[in-house]
């Protein structure tokens, strides 16, 4: 791979590389590259400070596009959201400062409390369900069996497809009149009067089920990675000692998967706090706001009602929730980085 780079520097170099080289003010650079053989002889004698300076300059140039984009499109909007949350901005007229008004309104707004409650219910139900199902599937699939690859692919497939698009199919399947799944469920005695997504007490479970369905394969793969990291000797030893399959799961597998479980739980919780696609397509937050989560509420306030200041305040509540969870994950990452 080095051969073309050193043998024919001028000829084989693509335009982008040429620009990169000249950008760094590398008149000497290019000279050095062109006479690669001779340069090799004396370059190591150059002072380390020059080498260091060269690398520093190059590093910042390499980082420039990403850091600029992140600063403009992530960091600035985040602080701007904080500012807007103290204003009554509505896109039409200039923002005027209203202090804590949006946050006070948030405290008194039953719709906001409802959205927060729905978000927490969603996370609290779907996280443990996802983790348990993913673990069960991973244990089932970690043994040798016919059709194993097929099943893994099948379970993983929902993670790859667009939730926004597949939610269309789910909405059809759960429809009161033409829904196949609703029909089958009523066949085994599980019925709703209005259809699953129109029934206030069933809409949330339905939306949660779709969310779990979507991410299950992802968590399963992470569990499989964890299972494959467990040395087989441990299980053999336990078996020799007469441990039953359940005891081995309880005393060997489960403790050794603690890292995985922790990571998956936090990821699932963060993911569910941000649920949007399936809710927007399947129920739009209805019926009677029964499935409206914080992100859907933010969307409705900001982009349907143009109350951007208020929407920004809501989104900061979400930020606090997600950030708290993320710090857990971050601490966890660091702890693991040391042990690895």
């Amino acid at each position: 791979m080095t051969t073309p780079a050193t043998a024919q520097p001028g000829a084989a170099e693509p335009g982008a590389a040429r620009r990169g080289a000249t950008q760094r003010g590398g008149a000497t650079q290019r000279g050095g590259a062109a006479t690669a053989r001779t340069a090799g002889a004396w370059r190591p004698l150059r002072s380390r400070r020059t080498q260091r300076g060269r690398q520093t300059r190059a590093a910042w140039l390499f980082l420039a596009p990403s850091l600029t984009a992140l600063a403009v499109f992530v960091v600035w909007p985040m602080f701007q959201a904080a500012y807007l949350s103290f204003t009554d901005y509505n896109l039409m007229q200039a923002a005027s400062w209203v202090g804590l008004e949006n946050y006070r309104r948030l405290l008194d707004d039953p719709e906001a409390w409802n959205a927060l409650e729905n978000t927490l219910v969603y996370a609290a139900v779907s996280t443990p369900v996802s983790v348990v199902l993913a673990l069960a599937l991973a244990l089932f699939l970690n043994r040798s069996m016919a059709l194993r690859g097929f099943l893994r692919t099948a379970v993983f497939l929902p993670f790859v497809v667009s939730l926004g698009v597949v939610s269309i199919a789910w909405a059809f399947l759960l429809d009161a009149d033409i829904g196949l799944l609703a029909h089958w469920l009523s066949g085994v005695g599980v019925t709703t009067q209005q259809g699953w997504l129109e029934d206030p007490s069933y809409a949330m479970p339905a939306v949660i089920a779709v969310g779990v369905w979507k991410n299950l394969g992802f968590y399963m793969v992470m569990y499989l990675a964890g299972l494959q990291g467990i040395p087989p000797e441990l299980h053999d030893a336990a078996r020799v000692d007469g441990a039953s399959a359940w005891q081995r799961l309880r005393r060997v597998t489960w403790p050794l998967l603690a890292n995985q479980t922790m990571l998956i739980t936090i990821m699932a919780a963060i993911g569910t706090l941000q649920a949007f696609d399936q809710i927007y397509v399947m129920t739009h937050g209805g019926p009677f706001f029964q499935t409206e989560t914080l992100v859907v509420f933010t969307y409705r306030m900001g982009f349907e009602r143009n109350e951007f200041g208020y929407a920004a305040a809501v989104s900061w509540v979400l930020l606090v929730l997600v950030f708290a969870l993320s710090m857990l994950q971050f601490g966890y990452f660091r702890r693991r980085a040391v042990t690895l």
């Binding site: 780079a5 596009p65 984009a69 909007p77 807007l84 993983f156 667009s162 269309i168």
Partner: protein
Amino acid sequence: MTQTARTPRTPPRSPDSRKSKGAAKARPSRGIDLALVWRVTTALAAVVIALAVLLPLIWMVLASLRPEQDIVSAPPTLWPRSFTLEHYADIWQELPFATLYRNTIVFAGTVTVVSLLFDSMAAYALARLRFRGREAVFVIVLIMLMLPFQITLVPLYDLLNNLGLVNSFTGMIVPRATNAFGIFFLRQFFLSLPKDLEEAARVDGASEWRIYWRVVLPLARPALLTLGLFHFQFNWNDLLWPLIMTSDTSRATLPAGLSLFMGQHVTQYGLLLAGAVLSLLPVIVLFLLIQRSFVQGIATTGLK
């Protein structure tokens, strides 16, 4: 996951088949029968689980192939009473479907290429170059990894609106031009590459750009492929961002466009479902092609 694709049906040699072997050893006379029964049972269970998980996708394909009346007639059935391809023929006229498709390809494709370039450049600096502030930059990237993108939604829309970029490809693509996850992912991979080639090139006087472009990038092909599929899949499937950034179908992508039609064209179920099938197809095909490295990428990023 690695050995799955290649050796799904060679249980005796795979390491986790000890259980059945142990059972056979304990009861040699009935061991074979039990093993066979067990294999059939698990295989059946696998088929049932797979069908249950795939039901929405299977139903969607079958429903898109049946006449309109068949979709809405009661009682609903999984298997079509008759087949037709009319929805697939009509969709190109009835919905601005070709536009939606083109938009999605342009959006997801451009974002993938551009962000692979910028992510890998930043990752190269963070993994292979020594400079003051490197740790600080990496920590900032890590913090950004945790920020929910929804927080930035309102001001980002506002900014692009003021620049007149709402409902334009530029407005949709540029904020996605780089990605903290991509930088993190590639940095981890670049750290694992051997230093020898790079140092040889450096001694030979190659510029940093050339080392990045000619030495490191070619070695990183598997990681780039995985991340590329991540980016492509994520942006192809994304609903919220294109939904906000587009005001009409001239720039709408498939998920956003179809969810709009879900509300408007309630009478044309067949068209909607044919569109849904067509919009899922490219990502599914891509996934099946690069399945192994994709799934491995997830497993390893989960661990790191």
